[in-house]
Symmetry: C2
DNA sequence: CATATGTGGTTGCAAATGCAACTACAATAT
DNA sequence: ATATTGTAGTTGCATTTGCAACCACATATG
């Protein structure tokens, strides 16, 4: 990173090294986790996210756009992602009564089972590749930093 | 996250909340940065990365696979990414003398100029959306954490 | 109500990604 | 030299993503 003369008034630490490391760590770690899932013959992380978000949701269901928001994905990409999960029998689409346009996505029994199975691979990967390398204090601090970043988020 | 009984021996902090926040922060922040570039009529982050990595490289050039490693991308994806930059006149491909199979990617003058221009959008975005929200100590700590994560990386 | 305007969600098409097969050259062995 | 195996990089094809246009229903306006 950097590459412009580090002129005048520096922002906090002016270097963009932290950001660069953040990006690299993300790619490497997500890549490694995806690989483990695939090697175990399991679907990608995105499927896990959908299933888990739905399971946690009130009444185990969520409108397409609410799901999109939580996934941090565009609506149309969620349409397709859900299409695939539906086709695989992991999620069902149910029309809402309140709004004739809306749909709920709901995990099926098979979907819940698959999520659990994915978790047996995903969780150890998180622990081994990520959690393990942070002290308790670092976990806490990192969480508070991330939350702060997300407050002022979007734009 | 979570979703399995938090059985026996917990790893550092056993929760996967930090990881979840890390993923979300990444999506949100990268999304916001990409948006700023696009709104400014500039190419995506990936192009910046290629150009900057090449500029920094010894002799301002890098073999395709070395570039792939630094970008944390697969070789064939780098082939195509570079194709696009070449087509846009930002990078040139030069056959190596040492090895008849190899190619160097080299930024053109236009490529260096574009990178600089992108930086005028990208840098303020990093500062505003990321740097600003971390204290110096947090920057330092975060860097050391990320570096540790990257040591034991791949698998 | 009839019409305009907004919103939830999907779809067609173009661009980007992932993977396996492949080409061209290198290195090693016979 | 000749065949064998390895490595750098690209390409064809299938899947996924991004975006604009679009359909269906809902809400507001006159």
């Amino acid at each position: 990173m950097s590459g412009m003369k580090t002129s005048a008034a520096a922002a906090s630490p002016a270097s963009t090294e932290t950001w660069a490391l953040f990006l690299t760590a993300h790619s490497v770690l997500v890549g490694a986790m995806e690989k483990r899932l695939k090697d175990a013959g399991l679907p990608p992380l995105a499927w896990y996210d959908v299933l888990w978000i739905l399971e946690r949701a009130p009444d185990q269901r969520l409108r397409m756009s609410a799901l999109a928001d939580q996934l941090v994905l565009t609506r149309f990409n969620v349409t397709r992602l859900v299409d695939r999960l539906v086709e695989a029998g992991l999620v069902a689409r149910r029309q809402t009564k309140e709004d004739g346009r809306g749909f709920y996505a709901v995990p099926t029994e098979k979907g819940r089972a698959l999520r659990k199975q994915m978790w047996t691979v995903y969780r150890p990967a998180i622990v081994e590749l990520f959690n393990q390398h942070l002290s308790s204090a670092q976990h806490a601090d990192m969480q508070s930093v991330m939350r702060r970043l997300l407050e002022r988020d979007v734009d």
